[in-house]
């Protein structure tokens, strides 16, 4: 495998393609500055020879925008269940890209969703391989890929 998970260019291009196809949203890269807003996070595990975790984090506003695109409604009409659904499915699609390029034999798990007042979920026993930060207008998001230590 010539591309490393740490490759931020790969990560951003994968993210950009997923968001263009699913939501017709053009992502732009942003620097990794401190993020002090509430976040909704979707986690998908990839299990196999390597054990990876893909975490998608969005502001609640962006999560509502994503859900509104999929359900074809206004962001303010989106329910919590629809926001969770959209976050889970987006993380699932991104995990599919990670799997295809870095661990083709892995099994993709079902998404788990959590909400944080401030900050991010930290996965114990895993190291952060890659973190990609992007924005749509003023709405922030990030994707992090973790690998279980020793896998």
């Amino acid at each position: 495998m010539s591309t490393a998970i740490q490759d931020e260019v790969w990560g951003f291009l994968a993210l950009r393609e997923v968001f263009l196809h699913l939501f017709d949203l053009e992502a732009r890269p942003v620097s990794d500055v401190a993020w002090r807003e509430p976040t909704i996070q979707a986690y998908v595990a990839l299990t196999g020879v390597r054990r990876l975790g893909v975490v998608l984090s969005c502001t609640p506003t962006l999560a509502s925008t994503l859900a509104s695109k999929l359900f074809d409604c206004l962001p303010e009409e989106v329910s919590d269940a629809e926001r969770i659904d959209a976050m889970g499915e987006t993380a699932n699609v991104i995990a599919g890209r990670v799997k295809a390029d870095f661990c083709p034999q892995a099994h993709i798990g079902l998404p788990a969703i959590s909400a944080q007042e401030i900050g991010f979920v930290h996965i114990s026993g895993a190291r952060l391989c890659s973190s990609i930060n992007a924005a749509f207008g003023s709405q922030r998001m990030s994707i992090a890929v973790y690998e279980e230590v020793g896998s």
Partner: protein, 154 residues
Amino acid sequence: MSFPQHLNILLVDDSRAIRALMKRELTAMLGSPKFYEAGDGAEALATIKTYAIDLMFLDINMPCLDGIETLQHLRTERRNVRVIMVTADGGHSQVKRAMEFGASGYIVKPFSRMGLEKAVTRALVGFVPTPAAPSSPAAGAPSDPFDLNVLKIN
């Protein structure tokens, strides 16, 4: 591209968002198909016993009964519905398994309208619409005893 009218399509995905997206794309492509929805494989198998489904979109990664297991059940029951697998897994190993169980094709999420159209075109090669009304129960399915149209008085 012209497609058969009045297709009965079953969308099987645990994500209601993806079902909503597929409905919009398929309506734009096919005109006015009749949609049925299921959130997992077990629901899909129950639906297909009741309605004459022409085409099924079957997500691979679902809770309870996943797409591959559902397809195996369908083939064991000798149901010849045309099935397009839906997956986020670009690795294709599970898609290969699905094709061995007789899936007509697959699409990888996030799919484009062109990709969806190609998959539907391929799946419907040789398709002959069933003479039954679009939403009529599948052959052999029990009729509704409370439906006045089928009530017989001896």
